[in-house]
């Protein structure tokens, strides 16, 4: 809805209230709060909905509810109002049964503006609910609409409210509504009113956030003292918003970092242990994502009850499928190319093209939709921070995978053999380690981890045959940056790159940010050609 009509409407509503109050004080005769509803003009009806809600009339809620449900009828002549319940009618003002002639009454028509007014009014009625949660929600709604007409209702509610949280929110809602009343710069204004407004500004400033900022920024024609308070409040809100947005960028950076970590861990293992650059790594990730999809389809077809946890079933499935593919790649292709790392790179690139095209032939070139289960969708709000559950889950998952991997490397005999082969392949072979078997299992392990990365990525990104392409360069960067020596290097590389990307993004734009990161990385490599945590040992060349 455009701003100006809304503003005008609020002013109009405020004037109506003001007129009512004036009328009340002048003649001491209570005006009929229902009167506007029987008019034919949409605007008059909408305004009177607000007035009625604020009037505190006992039948107000029933009448407004009926209006929202299109059960409110008005007499064609006169101002009688009726509510239809099925085929019976009651008088709207008294609730007494009535029998109007159906030919003499008309349904009160409703347009979007009225619907909005009804929704706002009904929200206010929630303030009198016995359930604090509903009261809090109503206070939220009142804050969002910050309609000056609701002031009397808010005052009444504040007087009776006991719950501290609701009181707090109501104060903010009241402050917002108070400030939204038309400005009084022209009038001298008594000190009390000015002080009240300044207090309201302070309350809003303390609440922070974009809605408060929008209300404060929209204030004009205020007395100078109020305006000064507003300026101060705005700058304090802006500072807090900037801090929150840095925190939010950090969260996104960590999230990107965790995805990169998952993608790069497998790469670090195969590269670290075997000196093999597997350009098909991204495609193995892509197959992991497709495995997730297939598991979901199978579970949905066979055991619909398990559908919400199918993603958990997909984790071992993707690990096994991709691990098997990895062993097959090592046995069928890479073992013939040991000692020729650059040619391995070319052969695995060729393999990546074949895998991509194979998936395209099998599943089609378009995106497939991997379902995000309900318990992974949605988000947590913490202050100005929005933490999406799926990204949080991926971070936890990445840490778990890294923990598991480092357990495998440190505590199992396979890990021991792998580390031996990494440090000095020839010596390890002489000590009786069957290096071909270690190579195959290492490659399988690395590819299995890539499959796990695929499961994670399927939750946040489009799953298409091109999925791997988008991650492969970044994950290489992580490996190059972190060094191939250990998982900590990968972790440091992934988080640094993830955060650097996301911090630079708002400053320089997404594309330029990425370019800056790449250039910085190229420069970094000049200083540390073997990454942050280079492998040390006799087997390592210079």
């Amino acid at each position: 809805m455009p701003d100006i009509p809304a503003w005008l409407r609020r002013v109009a509503a405020g004037l109506v209230v003001a007129c009512c109050l004036l009328g009340a004080s002048a003649s001491a005769q209570v005006p009929d709060p229902f009167a506007g509803l029987s008019q034919t003009s949409f605007n008059a009806v909408a305004a009177s909905v607000t007035t009625l809600a604020a009037s505190g009339a006992p039948r107000a809620q029933a009448v407004i509810t009926a209006l929202g449900e299109r059960r409110l009828y008005a007499a064609r002549t006169g101002d009688a109002l009726y509510i239809r319940n099925g085929s019976d009618y009651v008088d709207a003002r008294s609730g007494a049964p009535a029998r109007p002639d159906p030919d003499t009454i008309r349904s009160v028509r409703v347009n979007n503006r009225i619907r909005e007014a009804v929704a706002g009014a009904l929200a206010l009625f929630g303030l009198t609910s016995s359930d604090p949660a509903i009261r809090l929600r109503s206070a939220d709604a009142a804050y969002d609409s910050h309609d000056p007409a609701a002031l009397p209702v808010l005052d009444r509610a504040l007087a009776h409210e006991a719950d501290a949280g609701v009181v707090h929110r109501l104060r903010e809602a009241r402050a917002a509504a108070l400030l939204s009343a038309p400005g009084q710069a022209g009038k001298p204004g008594d000190a009390g009113a000015v002080q009240e407004r300044i207090d309201a500004v302070r309350i809003l400033a303390a609440s922070g956030g974009l809605p408060a900022r929008a209300i404060l920024a929209g204030l004009h024609d205020q007395p100078a003292a109020v305006q000064a308070a507003v300026a101060q409040a705005l700058s304090s809100i802006d500072l807090r918003l900037r801090l929150w947005s840095v925190a939010q960028d950090l969260f996104y950076g960590l999230s990107l970092g965790s995805v990169l970590l998952l993608a790069a861990m497998g790469l670090a293992i195969t590269f670290g242990v075997m000196g093999v650059i597997n350009m098909a790594h991204g495609e193995v990730m892509m197959i992991g994502a497709y495995t997730t999809w297939m598991v979901q389809q199978a579970v949905a077809a066979a055991m619909p009850a398990l559908a919400p946890v199918s993603i958990l079933l997909a984790i071992p499935a993707a690990f096994l499928v991709c691990g098997a593919i990895g062993v097959a790649i090592e046995r069928g292709l890479i073992r013939f190319l040991y000692g020729r790392p650059l040619e391995t790179l070319l052969a695995t690139w060729g393999l990546s093209l074949v895998l991509q095209q194979a998936i395209r032939s099998l599943f089609g070139p378009t995106n497939i939709s991997v379902v995000t289960p309900g318990w992974l969708s949605g988000s947590l709000h913490w202050g100005g921070l929005v933490i999406t559950l799926n990204r949080l889950a991926i971070m936890i998952f990445a840490v778990l995978v890294m923990g598991a991997l480092s357990l495998v490397l440190r505590r199992t005999s396979l890990g021991l053999e792998m580390r031996a082969v990494t440090q000095n392949r020839r010596m390890a072979a002489l000590m009786g380690i069957r290096t071909p078997r270690v190579d195959a299992l290492t490659f399988g392990l690395g590819s299995g981890v890539a499959g796990l990365a695929g499961v994670a990525i399927s939750q946040i990104d489009n799953v298409s045959p091109n999925l791997g392409q988008g991650y492969i360069i970044d994950s290489f960067m992580v490996v190059v940056f972190g060094g191939v020596g250990n998982l900590w290097g990968t972790l440091a590389g992934a988080t640094t790159l993830g955060i650097a990307n996301k911090i630079l993004e708002p400053v320089a734009g997404a594309v330029l940010g990425k370019i800056v990161v790449l250039v910085l990385l190229i420069l970094f490599i000049q200083r540390r050609p073997r990454g942050m945590f280079p492998l040390k040992g006799r087997g390592v060349e210079s």
């Binding site: 650059l342 040619e343 790179l345 370019i515 050609p529």
Partner: protein, 377 residues
């Protein structure tokens, strides 16, 4: 040290390229009814293959002779292409959609008011041609000086070259860069006053490209035949040993790297004239890797092999994508795998299998123990 066995065929190849192009151009000028007439599209297609051959030659120069596996040579190729594209863009003049004499169409579209400074001078063909060489050369010099000095080598270097072209691709996708963004530069009308759509222009361009390929072949041959070529071979096969003998491998690498970028830039410039468009997609890392496979197929470390590979693979691509488009990626992938597994020396290696073993060091019987990091080859 013996005279490199891979060089003599180069002169013959250069002669074949020029003679073939000349013959093709002449046959193209025959009336269409004549049975031996070569259709126009074949002429421009061949010219395109030959501009790819320049890129392949550039890749071969660094990979085959200096052991630097570049996955980013498309960057130099595309930069050369953009330089030439800027000249062709300026040449359009008032014939653009917006008929603006001062600004290319896309700048008018973006409501720019004046030409950015880096477009100055591109109305002059010699300047644009110079830039098509200088810009890639300067980038290569800067990049090479940094990386070779700090002894980044092997797969690390490969990955960084890939990152380089990837970064450039992202940069050129931006409209703010002033190079036409996503759409790139296109809609060219003529070059040096000659209509780009006229058959005669195409025939002449084919000849020019063929002469460039021959010239590049002879130039690289001359560079490689002398002491410098032997130094490069030494650097490729045992960089540290060469260093310990008192040479500066990084200088040799830098020199050949810049020369290679110049050739790639020239190839890109010619390519843009043939195909009539240049866009950021040319920077895609995949393109660079494809260029590497041309060299691998033709025969790494032989100059003729690079030309042969570029022409053959691209001919195959044209045929394949025309007949069985969905199978092309399988074929290309298989080509990568089979070439590396079974034809490590490419098609040229088939011809002289016995002596080839002496050139690059026969890969010993393969065992995983081979993966002990040596100088990357």
């Amino acid at each position: 040290m013996r005279l490199p066995a891979y060089l003599p065929g180069t002169v013959v190849t250069a002669a074949i390229v020029v003679a073939g192009a000349l013959l093709m151009a002449l046959l193209n000028l025959l009336p269409a009814s004549f049975p031996l007439h070569v259709p126009d599209f074949a002429v421009s297609l061949t010219a395109k293959y030959l501009s790819y051959a320049l890129l392949a030659l550039a890749v071969d120069l660094v990979w085959g002779f200096a052991g630097i596996l570049t996955l980013g040579h498309a960057a130099f190729f595309a930069l050369g292409g953009y330089a030439m594209g800027m000249y062709l863009m300026r040449e359009i003049g008032t014939r653009g959609v917006y008929a603006n004499a001062d600004l290319p169409d896309f700048m008018v579209f973006l409501s720019w008011t004046h030409l950015p400074w880096y477009w100055y001078g591109f109305s002059f063909f010699p300047f644009a041609l110079l830039m098509a060489l200088l810009v890639p050369g300067a980038l290569a010099a800067g990049f090479g000086a940094l990386t070779f000095r700090s002894r980044v080598s092997g797969v690390y270097l490969s990955i960084i070259t890939q990152a380089l072209t990837y970064a450039l691709m992202l940069a050129f996708f931006r409209n703010d860069m002033g190079f036409g963004g996503n759409n790139g530069l296109t809609d060219f009308k003529d070059i040096l006053g000659a209509d780009l759509h006229a058959p005669l222009t195409h025939a002449v361009l084919l000849l020019v490209t063929a002469l460039s390929v021959a010239g590049a072949l002879l130039l690289t041959r001359a560079v490689l035949a002398g002491r410098f070529g032997r130094l490069l071979t030494a650097v490729r096969d045992a960089e540290n040993r060469t260093r310990f003998l008192g040479y500066r491998p990084e200088h040799a690498k830098l020199l050949v790297w810049v020369l290679s970028a110049l050739i790639a830039g020239l190839g890109g410039a010619l390519y843009v004239i043939q195909v009539g468009i240049i866009n950021p997609g040319e920077f895609a890392p995949g393109n660079s890797i494809e260029a590497v496979i041309w060299v691998a197929v033709g025969g790494r470390g032989t100059l003729s092999g690079a030309v042969l590979g570029a022409v053959l693979v691209n001919l195959g691509k044209t045929l394949f994508t025309g007949l069985l488009p969905e199978l092309w990626l399988y074929a290309l992938g298989a080509l990568f795998i089979l070439t590396t597994l079974f034809l490590p020396r490419g098609l040229m290696g088939l011809r002289r299998a016995p002596e080839a073993a002496a050139i690059a060091g026969e890969p010993a019987p393969v065992t995983p123990e081979m993966a002990v990091p040596e100088d990357a080859s």
